[in-house]
Symmetry: C2
Subunit: 295 residues, 2 copies
């Protein structure tokens, strides 16, 4: 059994699915849940996702050999502070935050130095639903989990966290903290900003009622993303402000050039831009589809 | 029977689906197809979408009491010129172009003045497929068709085109040419530009292979739109350059403000922007979903 006692700090879709997957694999002895909402935690016990719960982080991590933080980014700093002095000798700490530099910083701030037992991580998985009710054992099946070990991270801690994610069916890759934040800014955070920006632009136009009425099906899919949790996205933007700010500047310059080309009615240049985008999209995304289907 | 002889100039998804719907309704006597590709036109005859075909527009419109132009926007001007002197006395002309000012201008240029028999139109419908093979009789069922009559358009021509679209199951609305182009720029053309711009931005980043590899499922849906036909979008951008240029400037200003707010890590303001976008999206788009399901 890989894990004797797992402490899940934040028992929602991400933390609940991890616990379920490890239980299904028979690789966890006891699961202790921690969170603020009593109802959600009671439901987690009833569903068999956790064995018991507490609202106190220090109490939750006591005796645990694996601590998983699945909290909003804005809540990480307080969680690290709360677990100080309560961790077991052999405890490994990891997390599921979608921005890594800010979590590493919060950990350093709490402990004075980054503990060797801390393995920053990010499972690239999720659904539109949240809460423990939405969790399921196969959420991480065939999905990527990125681990971003720091210079302080011990090989043993890294090995244990890698094993944990592989038991959940995830494909584990490693990258630096900085590189993770750049890649996620481009592929996840920027697309969300486009959607928020589009909907907000249209909402501010006069006759916006009519504009939304004529929005076709494609537009609706496109803006579904804009109904994501505002608090979560506020936290992500603040946590990853540097990498996201850079890629947004890049994107704005691209859109400015495109707007100028449209106003100049430069058909040849438009054809080059659209052809390049189509080729890139078809080449990479279809390539990914194919490799996924043969895996 | 509403239409004695229908001339479909451009027998693809849009033109083919109109012909099929009118045949199913028993409201068209003969359908004459016109286009450049012999193979597509032979297929259209074999499928029973058209009765006969010609590659000559003048010949195609002879004796037709309804002429439907379903051509790329860039091909409209030549089509109007080619039909001059061949139209029947009672011929009504309409089109399916997704930008209206440019089509009206092309018509005025060809005829010297806008004919009373011309009813500019735009069915808001389509699929990801093209060509007559992709056409089907119910494409316009429950979809909107916008008609943008000019000052010259006769009430009788307008009435006939409205009847035609209603027979296809479409909900017909009228608006001015300028207003149509503004609404479509915001709800269709701008979202496509975002997608092209996003994919092109990422394709130009170093290590773009890796970036596309980590693109999650939501991103893939988001950029599917960027694999749309580059020639069609070049034509749309050139045809609707004024309205699209304006809404792009508005969007770029919104994104600049958002980028500055992210760099300043102004969490409260981010929450306001994201909350406003979510509320607008939920209010309007879900409102549309509900009304659609009760219609």
């Amino acid at each position: 059994m890989l894990i004797r006692r797992l402490a899940v700090i934040g028992v929602g879709l991400i933390g609940g699915s991890l616990a379920r997957a490890l239980r299904d694999a028979g690789e966890v002895g006891e699961v202790v849940g921690c969170g603020r909402g009593r109802e959600n935690l009671e439901r987690a016990v009833a569903l068999g996702v956790i064995d018991r719960f507490t609202h106190d982080i220090g109490e939750a991590v006591e005796g645990a050999d694996m601590v998983f933080l699945s909290l909003p980014l804005g809540a990480m700093a307080a969680a690290f502070l709360a677990m100080r002095g309560h961790l077991a000798q052999d405890a490994v700490i990891t997390d599921g935050g979608s921005s890594k530099a800010s979590v590493v910083q919060a950990c350093r701030d709490a402990f004075g130095t980054i503990p060797a037992s801390f393995v920053p991580g990010h499972p690239i998985a999720g659904t539109e639903n949240s809460g423990v009710e939405a969790s399921f054992a196969t959420l991480y099946h065939g999905r990527r989990t990125i681990l971003t070990p720091t210079e302080a991270t011990s090989a043993e801690a890294l090995r244990r966290v890698e094993s944990m994610w592989r038991l959940c069916g995830a494909e584990v890759t490693r990258m630096s903290v900085e590189h993770h934040d750049e890649v996620l800014a481009a592929t996840s955070h920027l697309p969300h900003m486009l959607a928020f920006g589009l909907v907000d632009t249209l909402a501010q136009m006069k006759e916006n009622d009519e504009i939304f009425r004529y929005a076709a099906g494609g537009f609706r899919d496109f803006t579904r993303i804009a109904s994501s949790n505002p608090v979560m996205w506020r936290d992500i933007c603040v946590a990853n402000s540097v990498a996201l700010g850079e890629v947004m500047d890049r994107y704005i310059r691209e859109m400015q050039a495109l707007a100028e080309t449209i106003k100049a009615e430069d058909g040849e240049r438009l054809l080059r831009i659209f052809g390049r985008a189509k080729a890139a999209r078809d080449r990479y995304v279809d390539g990914i589809d194919e490799s996924a289907s043969t895996e």
